[in-house]
């Protein structure tokens, strides 16, 4: 089937979106950019392909069987089972590589000891995995790296308790191995994983009556061939994308158009990504007319939050909810991310509340964004907030308050898919450019 691909190679995450001939979204994929860029694009693209297959699969079931109750539930089962199947493969790869690391050691005793420890560690992880991938459980992260790290470190800590093995060495093994696992693309094995997922969903989810329909749909989805008619790349690392220059588009334009696509009345866009913050004004057609960006210093970007999260031993997901519990926001004096980290420690030591400090930190980020917005021409109706940080409730709350205080009533849009905005814009350009040819 003909489709168009948009890739947003971000500093922290790489996003891909497939659109069909009618500019309808088919699917989207995301991966972290930590491994090499080309691979990140490949994986994100493949993940978007998988996501598109899910979409087609669902459509097929609806067509065949009519929309019915339980379909949503089934899709959830299918999705988490798919992730589970992938996870199992990834876990196996991780184990293998960890063992390889240990194999290289000289000391035979240590080698043996750690190999055994690792074997039991992975055994425990595997036995837990089944439980981790049930529908309805909030995933801690989209990324293998984050999910597995938690599990691994937990067990490593427990195993190291009696002192026979060192926790630090176990982490060191992990740190090396994970990089290599991230260097592999597991999305290519989608057919196998989808098969497995289909089975698990039917049996474990109790969807036997739908089994036949599902099987047919899955087979169909696996069989679809995507004919990518045009690709446009954008994002922080776009210059390194393995595609010709005319197919590369500035992030500003893509974010503007992406936001316009999601919310057609958008006039002002704020994107807070991992390493840069952009304020964009767009016209009625979604074309950027003015923009400001901040991209030299990590202060005020998503990475700032990531850094703070590391500092507090939390996931970025958890920051927002905690900050939301605050009754007031502490004023943060440091602009520098690293200094803010130190200030955080200092304030904690002085007995200030975690949530209030966090609220202050969120406010600090948003204040920086406000100044960019001001510089780009203010906040006009409607306003769309995109980028990874838009997922953070505390940041959103701070933003809403500051906008209403300074610009009055504004319609504020945030899409749950906001992280894909840039990629959507790129995919739209991909289709429009193709049309123009």
């Amino acid at each position: 089937m003909d489709c168009y691909l948009g890739i947003d190679l971000g500093s922290t995450t790489t996003k891909a979106v497939y659109l069909d001939e009618h500019e309808r979204p088919l699917g989207r994929g995301i991966t972290n950019s930590r491994c090499n860029y080309a691979l990140a694009c490949e994986i994100a693209g493949d993940e978007a392909g998988i996501n598109s297959r899910f979409m087609l699969l669902r459509r097929r079931i609806e067509e065949e069987d009519g929309a019915r109750d339980g379909l949503a539930e089934l899709m959830k089962w299918l999705a988490c089972s798919f992730t589970f199947a992938q996870y199992v493969d990834q876990l196996a790869a991780l184990e293998e590589i960890c063992l390889e690391e240990v194999e290289r050691w000289n000391d035979a005793f240590e080698r043996d000891l750690y190999a055994k420890t690792l074997a039991s560690l992975f055994e425990r992880m595997r036995s837990e995995a089944e439980e981790m991938f049930r529908p309805g459980l909030a995933a801690r992260s989209d990324f293998f790296r984050d999910i597995v790290a938690n599990q691994y470190l937990d067990h490593a800590e427990r195993l190291a308790k009696d002192g026979a093995v060192s926790f630090d060495r176990l982490t060191a093994i992990y740190d090396r191995a994970i990089l290599r696992v991230e260097g592999k693309n597991f999305a290519t094995a989608y057919a196998k994983h989808l098969d497995l997922a289909c089975e698990r969903a039917v049996w474990r989810g109790g969807f036997e009556p739908l089994g036949e329909t599902l099987r047919r749909a899955v087979d169909y989805a696996i069989g679809v061939a995507f004919n990518v008619r045009n690709t446009i790349g954008t994002g922080y690392g776009r210059q390194t994308l393995p595609i010709p220059k005319p197919q590369i588009r500035s992030e500003i334009l893509c974010h503007g158009l992406g936001a316009h696509f999601m919310f057609p009345n958008t006039r002002t866009v704020l994107d807070i990504g991992g390493q840069d913050t952009k304020a964009i004004q767009v016209d009625a057609k979604g074309i950027a007319v003015n923009f400001q960006m901040n991209d030299r210093c990590a202060a005020g970007c998503g990475r700032y939050l990531g850094y703070i999260a590391d500092e507090m031993n939390m996931g970025v997901h958890e920051l927002g909810p905690l900050a939301m519990k605050a009754r007031k926001a502490v004023r943060i004096n440091s602009t520098c991310t690293v200094f803010a980290g130190a200030e955080l420690r200092e304030r904690l030591a002085l007995g200030e509340k975690r949530e209030e400090i966090l609220a202050g930190l969120h406010r600090a980020i948003i204040l920086r964004a406000m100044s960019l917005l001001a510089r780009s021409g203010g906040v006009h109706d409607e306003f769309t907030f995109t980028g990874g940080v838009a997922k953070n409730a505390a940041a959103v709350t701070a933003l809403k308050r500051l906008i209403s205080e300074n610009y009055g009533d504004r319609m504020i849009n945030i899409s749950p898919d906001s992280i894909y905005t840039g990629a959507v814009g790129a995919a739209l350009f991909a289709r429009r450019d193709r049309e123009a040819i």
């Binding site: 440091s334 200094f339 204040l367 406000m370 001001a374 510089r375 203010g378 500051l402 300074n406």
Partner: protein
């Protein structure tokens, strides 16, 4: 009045970003109010036209800058953004006019911005002369002042009268007298006039009607002399460079806490820019012109092509028995930062110790500055005058 009441009053005025005191004055008197930026404007002309001159010195760290940043790149000092923020948030609406004295390019350009942003207000760029020859710069300045006075009188609807000008000059001479006494007391017994209180008292001159401010200073002087305050083991320093953008209150306190007592400074410099009383007889504009040309403070924004500025600083160090000089410059402030090395070389030649740091009106992290001034005080204390 008790000391505490005076200080509290000044604190209130300092934090009163909405200028409620100015609004009250306008309500009470039915007069107009005219804002001005640092350093020097001849407030006598505003006063004589029947308006209240209101000094705006940024917003310290009391205000979050949201729209002000829309107008300034990161490498421009802070005071114009908070000034714009104050304006755009309506806090300066009670000012019927605004004067932009020639200080530097930033303020100069701000005058044009103000014309665009607030087209309904009276806005004037006041070009003070950099030529101090009476027949040249003097003539030009007199023309400027006359035009300004005409404008102001047109704004208030009062006749432009020499008599009124002379009365205003007298009122400001009184104020200069009180302020000079305040500085004298602090220099003699710094522990009696804590830096923080001194500063707030000076800031009050920005918003109070001049006679009211004079009375406040006099009351403070009386109270401070009565109050028993412990002597402190601090070094005596002169602070320089803060003639335009002002350090936040926290910083002003930190200096004293880190062991430095300020015995002279250039904050709120406009209030004592003219170092002697202005002649209250004869042509009042001529008197103002002469004072400006002859008795103005040799500060960074005044072009002087001889060694006078360094000499003046050294003389003040000597007469006030200062043990060192602190150069506090607003970040990105060309006048202060370009002046400093020249003054420092002059001090160096006389072996007068100094230290220098940068700040901005909303600096929150004072640790580094405190560390530095603390070490400076340490070194003078531990090593004496050597």
């Amino acid at each position: 009045m008790e000391l505490n009441d005076i200080v509290r009053r000044c604190e209130d005025l300092y934090h009163d970003l909405d200028l409620t005191s100015v609004k009250e004055w306008k309500r009470r008197t039915g007069g107009k109010a005219v804002g001005f930026l640092p350093i020097y404007v001849p407030r006598e002309t505003v006063h004589a036209a029947g308006a209240l001159p209101v000094g705006i010195m940024g917003a310290g760290d009391d205000l979050e800058i949201i729209r002000g940043d829309a107008f300034y790149q990161s490498y421009i000092c802070h005071i114009p953004r908070s000034t714009v923020e104050l304006g755009l948030s309506g806090r300066l609406d009670c000012l019927d006019g605004f004067l932009f004295p020639a200080i530097c390019d930033v303020i100069r350009n701000l005058s044009g911005m103000w014309k665009i942003l607030f087209p309904d207000k009276y806005v004037r760029y006041l070009d003070v002369p950099q030529n101090f020859d009476e027949r040249l710069g003097g003539v030009f300045y007199r023309q400027e002042l006359a035009a300004l006075f005409q404008d102001l009188c047109a704004l208030t609807g009062r006749p432009a009268s020499d008599e009124a000008l002379r009365r205003s000059i007298e009122a400001y001479n009184e104020n200069r007298r009180a302020i000079a006494e305040l500085y004298r007391l602090r220099a003699e017994e710094p522990h009696r006039v804590p830096t923080y209180e001194h500063y707030l008292l000076m800031r009050a001159s920005n918003v109070l009607e001049v006679t009211e401010h004079t009375a406040l200073v006099d009351a403070y002087l009386a109270a401070a002399r009565r109050e028993n305050r412990p002597w402190r083991d601090n070094i005596r320093v002169i602070l320089t460079g803060v003639f335009c953008e002002q350090p936040p209150l926290g910083l002003i306190r930190a200096l004293e806490q880190s062991g430095c007592s300020i015995v002279d400074d250039d904050w709120v410099l406009g209030a004592r820019y003219l170092r002697e009383p202005v002649a209250a007889e004869g042509d009042p504009l001529d008197a103002l012109v002469t004072s400006y040309l002859r008795r103005g403070t040799p500060t960074a924004t005044r072009y002087i092509d001889e060694d006078a500025k360094g000499e003046d600083l050294i003389r003040r160090v000597r007469t006030l028995r200062a043990e060192g000089v602190i150069f506090a410059s607003p970040s990105f402030c060309d006048p202060a930062l370009l002046e400093a090395p020249m003054l420092q070389r002059a001090l160096g030649a006389e072996k007068i110790p100094y230290t220098a740091f940068k700040f901005s009106e909303n600096s929150g992290q004072l640790q580094v500055i405190k560390e530095q001034t603390g070490a400076f005080a340490d070194s003078i204390k531990l090593w004496g005058a050597a």
